[in-house]
Structure formats: structure tokens, C-alpha cells
Symmetry: C5
Subunit: 354 residues, 5 copies
């Protein structure tokens, strides 16, 4: 897990408004792509010089400027200059340990989100995605270059329905929706993991590895919650914003995202409860095992210790021990051994100790 | 338990507004029934072609269109087209892992609920029921075809009192009330189950099975809560809606449902507390048993180990061991055995170890 | 404990507005008493025919109609008809597993409360009391016939101060106050019970019975809370009602009840905390006892096992064992026994194991 | 600890407005003192007859009427009559198990507070102090006669600054502030107690006494919280009152008290957390000790039991046992003893069992 | 840890408005420095006589008066007199156990903050910093003289951008931001500490030292939370103040600080959860170890006790014991030993006890 607070301290004490990249560098190059569309046509092209972006400020098409990789600080700075982005926003874009949040400025909206992905062993990877929503322009900053937004691109290109006839706010919604929908994959992974862990704990012998797994999942949940909980607040703020940049007809779509994120939040809470009861089960199982071990010991010891005592008696060398001379002494003792053992076994059996 | 999140991911990344059925298919065919009534008459008939529904749009009778089974997506799509239902609503109807919710649109209200049923072993089955409330039309979508709404039908047909003189909103209330009332069956089942489990734990030996039962009920409660808690919010929203589709005189009935759901919510919380104290009792009982086992072991070992030691001494082969020659040596030793055992028994008795 | 949810399911699926009695029948007959008073006179008389009640509708005296026992459904129905009570209210009166609540209707206020009583073993008994407050009439429905309201009656009859000069709302307050004041008896019983349990746990050996007691009290508290918490909400609602049926000068008395119920709620929370720490103490004590048992075992076993080993050595039959021939061998071994035992005892003493 | 609920039940069922003293009588006599001051002069004098108080109603000096001891109910009644105090307020003054609260009446404000004191063993003593704030009169009722308010008196007498130029509301503030400031002494005592307990638990052997101490402090905290939490609400209400009896310039001083009480509340919460982790430490330490005991037993038993078995073999009396005849048999066996013991010791050492 | 409540009691009972220094004296001398700047120039100089400060009241430059060390009460008093600071504010400045808070007065704003620092062993040191924000003057009171604000000074001096063109409110923001940013260092230290502790607990043997560490960190977190939580409220209040002393353009910067403090608060909550699960792991590990010890004991005892019993039998001295005469008796017994031991080992192996 990348430590979410460590790098913040890189900046402690620095003047606000200093543009430096904070966080792990996930991509070494910075690539800009522009998707420009309206009802009638779509163009997608890479951008070499940032000045090329200027022309999109005045067109009435919807323009999506997508930046992959945050290594090149100048790109961010120049885009900020061209589109009139506040210094603090630019800082937040580069500082990749933000909490998810929504900020309204006069000319644009600023949305920060986390894209979360888990590998097969449920180790999480975080990536910050910043979205700037201007009048008919959406600018996205993504730390890693991958296929996450490919589906949106396809929908824009193949739009038979309304996508291309809707504004920049709908594009912003589509991006947020895509990121939030991926949280369900995490929930699935957690569901599989906790169910299988529960089976292990309830049926077979719990091991130190189970304990490590429980603790590992707990940590992951704590981290997921740290990013999902503020996302929920964020979307509520989007729903209640009075900014004209989000049209009323788009609001209903954000309401849908809000439902999804609520669903995720409730799942997280459920899994937390499940995990904490898994720990209880682990402890109970340990206790169970201990009981079992103790019972075996007690049955063995309680049966053989008295018998050994009896044997020891007749191993004594007293000159006067009449039993030793009896012809049936030895078989009688064996009889006693068997009777005593049988009685004790019956007793322990009755106590259900084996 | 059907996993509530798994299928959501089937859709992650898809364009919003794509109509596909998400969730397990509980019914392979889709059946439409129309119940049309006013004060004077009632008709109930199956619908073959969806166009037949058109005529009900203009009548001033109350019309209940009931759809059993969601397999046929086209039915949903066509109904949406006929009655002017928003694309997102249609999606939610088909996507059967919704949270219970209430949504107000200009022309209709959309209510999603879960019908929960438990079998004898308290395994839960979920079914989503969607209710659309239009001006004088109620449309319900149910995943499974069963007798759940039969009682409402009977009441409509036999209405001696006001049912048939009230509007579509009262019908919607009757449907919601029926679903919510069934939650009490779950609470009953839980009550029986936890009480019997508590008896087992407090009187007889707790087993791994008790632990599994506790954990199983906990999981069920977590799941029930996930569906009941949003139902409570939902009904509060219905109570506070300003939509003209819910008349004031019906609101008082929804207030009654609200009381029921509150009652259920509080029961859930109580059972959670009860279950968590059952786990405490389980652990305490384990500890109790362990103590008992240990005491038996300690009593046996502490009495016989010293006696065996004494016997072993007189089993030694030293040439010069005067006691061995004494005539009363052996009986005296037996005396010592008895005295020592009696003293130790008294000591343990005083400690209440047996 | 009467199960608060079981009987609710008797009604699931029935039409709302069906008058049937739900819950255990605590009283087989239904008795009606009317107390009619103003500043100048008081009359108290049993009512045989319900029509007799009609005349009180128009007098300007305060009339208290008290119904003992809910077995006779017709009585409730007729009273409802005479005084214009809503069908849902009548249902709630008969359905004796209501949550405490306050409802405002145009012409009357409806208050539901629980009267709780505990026997010596702290087993709870619940009884539902419904109060209807009309303009100058108070109607009370009580499940059991007992002396609970006798004190109020006495005060009305002996009123030297203002009781008789105040309206129906003050009478309603007096009834609510009487019921709430009885909750303090429960708190007292709990206080005595938990304090004595705590003493037992901290000083003497905890037993399975202590565990059962803790769990029993916990269950009771959960149940008490279920009825007291909504009572608190209810009284807050009475305080904030804008209904003219509660006069301003009476409101200050309800404020006083509100303080009492707050006091009770806080006591409940305190006792919950106390009980949960009692369980912790129980578990700690068990652990303590186990430690003690283990120490005894360890001390016995660790001292005698090595000594027995030594004895066993000199019980061997090797032909060449020079020590056996030594004249002082045996006494020397005894010396060794004593020294070893002393050393071990010192060691264990230092560890404070006995 | 005086039981805060027990005596409430003395009154259950009584008519509201009956003046009787409820609670332990802490002072047998009732003493009245009047302190009358303005900028220019101060007088302090005991009051014999209550009629003497009449004259202060019309002066424009600030008058502080202080009553020590509540045994004489008539004093309270007469004061109520003179200054127009509501019957319910008089009851609350005499009923010394009130929750701290603030009530606004038309002509006066009523403040109830608890003065808490702990003795050296952290046993708490409660005392109720009631404050009536009239236009230029403050009346205080205190259960015990002690030096608590001496400092305020001194400040009035020696006021070089503004005390004497400020109104009755400032005097009320000074009284409340004095009481709240004493809560810090409790926090100090708790701090010392928990820190020393923590040291004991982490360094030396935990005993049953530690458990009793933890439980005792827990109970005290629960009780303190019960009185401090409502005090906080109360002061918030004073801050927001619209009564003209509290002037704006005094409000800032109550804000200060509010900060103090918040500080106390947060301390209480901290100590609760600390205490609950102390219990965890206690249980962990017990577990630690148990482990240690078990290891000693296991090391002893596991080493000597196999050796004893070997010895027992060569103590057998078979006619044909060739080893017994070997000349080096006995020393060889000793060698085996030593090797086995050494191996086992190494094994246990490696496991860090001793 | 300096005890945050102890010294408060030094003042209990004193008149409000008495200026005395409460808390540990961290600096013996009191040093005043003035930094005066506008767009065009910066001056920094020590102040000898407090009268020198008078001239800054009328200039239109931004003036930062910084006081290091609170030992000299007169300095605080005189500054209060010059700038018209309320008596209660002056008290709070000197009373260094304040909760962080924000107070609005007519002419100035008062901000109290805690600067927290941890040494290598995560022991915390607290320092109170008071900030007075006047129209174009900021006055800061700091307990210790150190380099904390050096970075701000450097930025003022080297300001190429807007710092020097902004008002006193921006300076106040810069100071608050610097203090809050330092909280991230604490979070880093906690992250390193808890991660390393978790590794220790999950991989190697837990010791009493681990328990002490967990408890120590818990205490620290409780303390950090006590200072950080009110800081969050404080900044929210600054954001919502209507005072003209904070300009709108500065508010956006405080919003940024608010995000940071939220981030810190969430981290604290996460670490609390992590620590509480570390304790669970500790207890589970102890239980694990105990199980392991018990299994070793049980395996050893259960194998050798029956064998020893067998040997003891043939060590008996009965005259008639036919087996003793058999030629193959002894080897046959060895065979029995081996078979029994092998069976038991197989049994225990199957149970995975070793």
C-alpha cells in the first residue's frame, strides 16, 4: 500500500502555491490527447504543443482534454494559465495524496477522485484522477496511462443515442461513473476473500496465516473507506451545487452515481462487521482447539497416572507385602486396572470429552 | 445468499441507459396481468400484447399492471415507452441489485423494495419489487411469480369498505405494506432461532456448530439490515414528498408503514446486540469448560503424582533402606497415602474444584 | 418475556383497518368507568351501555373514560364511532405490540405508552396503555385491570389545589407522568441487581449462573430500551406539537416528564455499560481462576516429577550400580530430594505462584 | 456512591407539585445568608425571618440570597411565594436527584448543577446546587454548608475591578464557573489514578485488586459523565437563551465556562478509552502469565517424563534383559539421560520458552 | 506527556480575569520581534520597549508582532492594553492548556492552536500558539523559541509572488497552515511505528514490550486527537465567520487547511482502528503460543505416560507374573512400546499437533 500521508510531509512548510509533484511518479512521460465532438462529428488526436489547445476555448463543440502522467509539471502550469485555473487547484492536481473532493470556482468545477484497483492478493493500488469541468471543456489528469476510459471513448465514437448531444457535464458524469463503478470490483474481491476465509475458519484449523489475512483485509478496508467515504460527500456536493455548469438533466445521472456510492459504502461497513466477527471466530476457534488439546491431555493423564501409581506400589521392595505372594495378585491387579480405566473412561465419555 | 454486489460488476463500464437484466433470473417467462377497478366494478385479465395496455392510459378507473418475471427485457422497454418512463428508471427495474429507494419524476413515482423470505434454516432469499405510481395507474415488476399479492387482490375484489373508492396511491400503499409486513416473519424466525441458541449456550456444552450458527445469523442480520435500513429512509421520503401523486389521506397510511419499519429496524438492532452477547457467552462458556477440564487434570495429577513418588522411593534398590525391613512399613505407607490424598482432596474441595 | 414481534405476524397480509385484537389477552372482560369532574364536583361511575357516553360529548366538564381490558373489540369500535376516531387509531389500540408514539389528528391526540413492571427476579411484564385526548375528554385503554391509576383518581377526588380546575390535557399529563414514574422502579431493581452481581463477581468465584444473570439482565435492558427510547421521542413530539389540545401551561409539566424520561434513558445507558463491563470482569475472573489452577498443577508436577525420576533411577536393576551399595546412598538421596524440592519451592515462591 | 435513582421512586405516583425533600439529607439545619452589593458598598448578614428578604425585591443593588441545607421545606416554600417561583421549580430544588438543567421562566432563570467531589480513594460525593437568577437577585440553594463559595465572597468584598459593577447575571456566572472549575480536580485525580494503575499493569503482576480498581474507576466515570454531559447542554442553552436576564457582555464569560466544560467532557472520554484499554492490558497480562506458567510446566514435564520412562524400563524385572548385565549399562544410561535432557533443553531454548 | 489538565486546577476558584501564567514554563525570557512589510519593503527587528509597538497601529503596512516565551506576564498585559484585547483573551493566551479555538471579537480574531512534535520514541511535546488577527496586524504568542516560523519569514522576505501584496489574514493563514502541516509528520511517525509493530506481532513472538508499545501509541493517539479534533472545528468556524477581518480571497486558502486537517483526522481514526486490531492480534498470538505449548506438553505426556505405566507393571514384584519369565517378554514389550508410540504419534500428526 502506498502510504497516503508520507509524501504530504515532503511539502510541509513550503509556501502554498508552489507547483511540485508530490507522490510516487507512476508514469514518466506526460501525454495529452484531445477528443472533440458534437452531434455530427468526433475527432481524437494527440497534442504536441500546448498552444494547440487554445483554439478549443472558443469552439462550441464539447472538448475533452486528457492528460496521462503528471511528471511534466510545466504542462499542468501552462494548462492552468490557458484556462484560468487557480493556483491552489493546480497544486492539488499535482499533489496526488488529496482526499476526494469537489470545489466550485467561478469559471470551473474541480473534482478529485481515486481510482482503486486490487491485484489477485487483494493488494490495493491507488491512482488520483482530477477532473476540471469548464463550460464546454472537460480536462482530466490521470497518473497512469491505461485503458480505464477506453469504454467512454468508444461510447462517444459510437454514440447512436444522446451522448454526443449532451454537454460537458454529462461527459464529466460518465467519467465519474466509470471510476465509481470500478469500486464494485473491489467489493467483489472482498466478498470472495472474506467468504473463503470464513469457510476456512469455521471448518478447518485456523492458522497464523488466517490471522494475517484478517488483519490484511482490515487494513485494506480502512484504506478503501478513507477514499470512498469522501467520494460520497463529494457527490452529494455535486448534487447540491448551484453552479450552472451542471445542468438539471445531468443531475439525475449524478443521483444514480450517488446511489452506487452509497451501495459501496454500505458494503464496506458490512465487510468491516464481517471481518470483525471473523476475528471473534478465530479467537473462539483457538479456544476450541485449546480445549480439545487439554481434554486429550487430561484423559490420558487422568487414566494412566492412577494406574501407574498402583503399579508403583507393587514395585516396592518392602519385605512384608502380602499381596505380592498371592497367586492371583497379579491378575487381580490387572482386573483393577481395567475396572478403573473403564470407570474413568465412562466418566469422561459422559462429560463428552472425547 | 445471493451475493448482492457480484452482478453489479457485470455492468461496470457500460454506458448508462443500456437495458440489460442484471442479477439471477428467477423466472424464465414474463407474465402481465391487469387489474382494473373503480367503485362499481373489477376486472382482472392477462395481457398478451402490450398494446392492450394503451387503453388504460385514458380511463379514469384505477389500473394495476402487474409484471411477473423480468426475463423479457422488451416488455420493460415497451412499457417504458408507453407510459413515458425515464431510461434510468427502466435500467433500475432490470438491475435487481438496487438499494431500496424512492424517486420522484415529473409524471410518476418510482419505488424499489426488497421482498425477503427465509427458509427453515434461516437462509434468506431476496427478490426485488419495483413499483411505478402514475396518476391512476400502478405498475409493479416482480422477479418471482408467487402468491405474495393474492391478499391484496382478494381485498380489491371483496372490498366492502373503501379500497375501491381510493386512488392509485392507496393501492401503492397496500403493496408496500404487504411487503413490509412480511419482514415481521423474519423477525419471528430470528427470535425463535436466537432464543433457542441462547438456551443451548447457557445450559449445555457449546460446540463449533453453535459458533457457526451465531456467525450465520450475524451475516443474515447484516444482510437484512442492508435492505431494511434504506427502506426506512425510502418511506420517510414518501412521507415528505410534495408530489401530488400521493394524496394527504393516504399519507397517514404510509405513516403507519413507517412505524412498522421502525419497529423492524429496532428489532434488528436488538438481535444484533443479542447475537453479539451470544458470542461473548460462547467464549465465556468455552473458558468455563476449559477451567473444568483443567481442574480435573490438576486434581488427578496433584494427588497421584506425590503418591507415585512415595511408591517409587520404596521401589529403589538401595542395600541400606531400613524402612523396607520394618514389619509395619507397608501398611504405614498405605496410611500415609490415605492421609495425603485426604488432605489434598480437602484442600481442593475447599477451593471448590470439584 | 412476551415476545414483542411474534404476534405482529398474526396480522401480516391482512387489510389495514381490520379491527382484531393482537397480542396476549391479559384481561378477559372489558370494563368501562367514567370519571367526570370540574372545579365543583366529581362523579365516578361504571358504564354498562356505551350509549351512556354520548352525553359527555357536550358537557363542559372534564371526562375521563377508562377502559380496562381489550377483549371486547366492539367496545373499541363503538367508542371510535361515537368520538370520531380514525380506523387506524382503533387498530393501534387493539394491536398491543405498538411502539410508544404520539399522533396528532384533527380532533384528538393519540398517545401510546408501555407500562413496564418487573417481578422480584427482574422478569419484565409489558402492558400497553393508549390515551386519546379530545377537547375535554380523555379516553384511556388499559390491558390489565389494576391499581396503577388509583393515585390519580385520589388526587382528582381530593384536589385541594388546581387539578380539577385544569383541563383534559393536564389529566393526560398526569396519566403519562404516572406511567413514566414507574420506570424508576425498574431502574432501582436493576441497580440493586447489578451491584449485587458485581460484588459476587469481584469477591467470590464466578459461576455459570453469574453468566446467565448478566445475559438475562442484558436482554431485559435491550427490551426496556426498546420501549423507553421511543417514549422519549414521543414526549418531545408532544412538547413541540402545535395542536391546541395541549395548552401552554400544561406544556411545562410535560417538560418535566421529558426530564424524567431523559433521566431514565441515561440510566439505561449506564447500566448497559455496567453490564458489559461485568461480562469483562467475568471473563477476567475466569482467566484468573484458570491461572490459579494451572499454578497449582505446575507447582505439584514440577516438584514431584523430577523427584520421581530420581527414585526411578535407583529402582533400576542394573547389576553394576555402585550408589546402591553405598551405606549413605539412601539418606543422601533424601537430602537431594529435600534440597531440590526446597529450591523449586523457593523459585515458585519468588514467582508468587502460591 | 449515593444511588442517583433510588430516591426518585420515593415520589413515583405522587401528585406533581407536592413539596417534599427527596434525597439524602446532607445538612440538618437551613441557614440563609444575604450578600447585598453595588459599586459602593457590600453587606453580608444572616437572615432569621424570611420576611426580611422582602425589602431586597425593590432595591437596585445586586442581592445574593444563599440557602445552606434543604431540610426546612418551609423556607423554600416561602421564598417561592415571595419571589414568584413556579411550583415545579420549587419541587426540583428540593428533589436533589435532578439532572443538571437550565429552565427559562418569564421572571427568572433556573439553573441546576451538581458539585462533585472525590475523596482520596476516588469515591465520589454529589451535591445539588440550584441557582435562581432574577432581575437583580440571585438565590442559591446548596445541600451542604461548606467553603465552596468563599472565594466568590472574597472577590465581591475585595472587588477592585468590575465585579461589583456588574449585574446578577455575572454573579450567576461566577457561581457556575466555580462549580465547573472543581470538575478539573476530579480529572486530576483520575489522571493520577489511571496512570499509576497503568504502570502497575504493565510492569508488575496484575491482581484481582487491579481488576477491582479498573471497574471502580469505570463506574465513577459513568457517574461523572451522567452529571457533566447535561451540564454541557445546559451551558449551551444559557448561551443561546434570548432571556434579557443574561446580558450580552456576560455571555462571553459563559462561553468561557462552555470551553471548560467541553475540556472536561473530552477528558472524560479520554479516560474512558484509557480505562477500557487498561482492561485489555489486564486480560493480556493474565494471558501472558498463563503462558509463562504453562511453559514452566511443559519444560519440566517434557524433560522428566521421558527420562522417568527410561528409568522405569530398567526397573523392570524381566529375567532376560541383557542390558542389565552390561558393565557400562548404568553409566551409558546416564549418558542417554544427559543427552536427551540437553537436546530437549536446546529445543525449548530455541523456542524461547525459558 | 505533559498532563493537560493538571495545571488547570491551579486556577480553579480564582477570579476570571486574573493574569497568571498556567502551564510549564518552556522559555524563561520573553522576546518580541516585529516584521513589518508591504509590497515594497520588509523590515525585521527586535523590540526592546513595548511602546515601540504603538507606531504600527496607524501604518498601513502589514505588521507581524511575534512574542517568544510567555514568562513575562507584563508584556502580555501591555500588549493587551495597547491593542485593546479583552481580559479573557489575555488570560487564555497565558493559560497554555487551552483547547484549540477561534473567537471573534469586535476588533480582532483570536485563534489558539497546538504545535505538536514527537521525538524518535513517539513521545509527544505540546506547545500552545496564540494568534491575534487585527486589521493589518498579526500578533503571535509562542511558548518556545524555535525555527518553526522561519520558513514563513523567508517567504515574506523573498516573496516574488503575492505574499507581500496580501493582508494580515493571509499571514494568519500561513501561520495556521504551517502548524497544521506539521501534524503530518506525526502521522508519518505513527505509520512507521504501527507498521513495524504489526510486522513484529504477525511474524515473531509477541512480548510484554509489544503490549506496552500498543498502549503507549494508544495514549498518544488519544492525546493527539484531543488537540486535532477541536482544530478542525476551529477552522470550520474561521471558514464561516462573517468577520470582515478574513477576506473572501483568503477563505479559499483556509478551505485548503480544512482539507488537510480533515485528512489528519481521518488518519487518526484509521490508526486508532489499526491499533485496536493490533491488540486483537496480540491477544490472538498469545493464544496461539499457548496452544503450541499445550500441544507439546500433551504430545509428550500422552505418549510417555502410558509407556511408563507399562514399564511400571513389569517392575512389580509379584511372585506370580508369568510374562517376566518369557524369553521374548522384554523385546516384545519394546515392540509394544514402539507400536503404541507410533500409533499415538500418527494420531497427533493427523490432528496437526506437531
Amino acid at each position: 500500500m502506498p502510504d497516503p500521508t508520507r509524501s504530504v510531509t515532503q511539502k510541509a512548510g513550503m509556501p502554498p502555491g508552489t507547483l511540485i509533484h508530490i507522490g510516487d511518479v507512476l508514469e514518466k512521460t506526460t501525454r495529452i490527447t484531445v477528443i472533440d465532438y458534437n452531434k455530427d462529428c468526433v475527432t481524437e488526436q494527440p497534442v504536441q504543443a500546448i498552444d494547440e489547445l487554445l483554439k478549443y476555448k472558443t469552439t462550441d463543440t464539447v472538448t475533452w482534454i486528457h492528460i496521462d502522467g503528471l511528471a511534466d509539471i510545466e504542462v499542468v502550469e501552462q494548462i492552468g494559465a490557458i484556462f484560468g485555473i487557480h493556483q491552489l487547484t493546480l497544486e492539488d492536481i499535482l499533489h496526488t495524496q488529496q482526499r476526494p473532493k469537489f470545489e466550485e470556482y467561478d469559471d470551473y468545477l474541480y473534482i478529485v477522485l481515486k481510482h482503486l484497483e486490487a491485484d489477485d492478493e487483494l493488494r490495493l493500488f491507488y491512482e488520483q484522477i482530477s477532473i476540471l469541468v469548464l463550460d464546454s471543456i472537460v480536462i482530466t489528469f490521470k497518473e497512469k496511462s491505461d485503458e480505464l476510459f477506453q469504454a467512454i471513448l468508444d461510447r462517444i465514437k459510437n454514440s447512436k443515442r444522446r451522448f454526443r448531444s449532451l454537454g460537458a457535464d454529462y461527459l464529466a458524469y460518465a467519467i465519474v461513473d466509470t471510476i465509481v463503478d470500478h469500486y464494485f470490483f473491489l467489493m467483489d474481491a472482498l466478498d470472495v476473500a472474506t467468504t473463503s476465509l470464513e469457510d476456512t475458519l469455521l471448518t478447518s484449523e485456523p492458522t497464523q496465516a488466517s490471522l494475517q489475512a484478517i488483519q490484511g483485509y482490515k487494513r485494506e478496508l480502512i484504506n478503501i473507506k478513507r477514499y470512498v467515504a469522501p467520494t460520497r460527500e463529494m457527490i452529494t456536493e455535486i448534487l447540491h451545487t448551484e453552479s450552472g455548469l451542471i445542468e438539471d438533466q445531468t443531475r439525475i445521472y449524478f443521483k444514480d452515481v450517488s446511489d452506487h456510492i452509497l451501495h459501496v459504502t454500505e458494503s464496506i461497513d458490512s465487510y468491516r462487521e464481517v471481518l470483525s466477527s471473523l476475528l471473534d471466530i478465530y479467537i473462539s476457534s483457538m479456544s476450541n482447539k485449546m480445549n480439545e488439546v487439554m481434554k486429550v491431555l487430561t484423559v490420558f493423564a487422568s487414566i494412566f497416572i492412577p494406574l501407574t501409581f498402583l503399579s508403583a506400589i507393587y514395585g516396592m521392595n518392602f519385605e512384608y507385602m502380602p499381596e505380592l505372594k498371592w497367586h492371583w495378585g497379579y491378575p487381580a491387579l490387572w482386573g483393577a486396572f481395567i475396572v478403573i480405566a473403564a470407570l474413568l473412561l465412562t466418566y469422561f465419555k459422559k462429560k463428552k470429552w472425547f
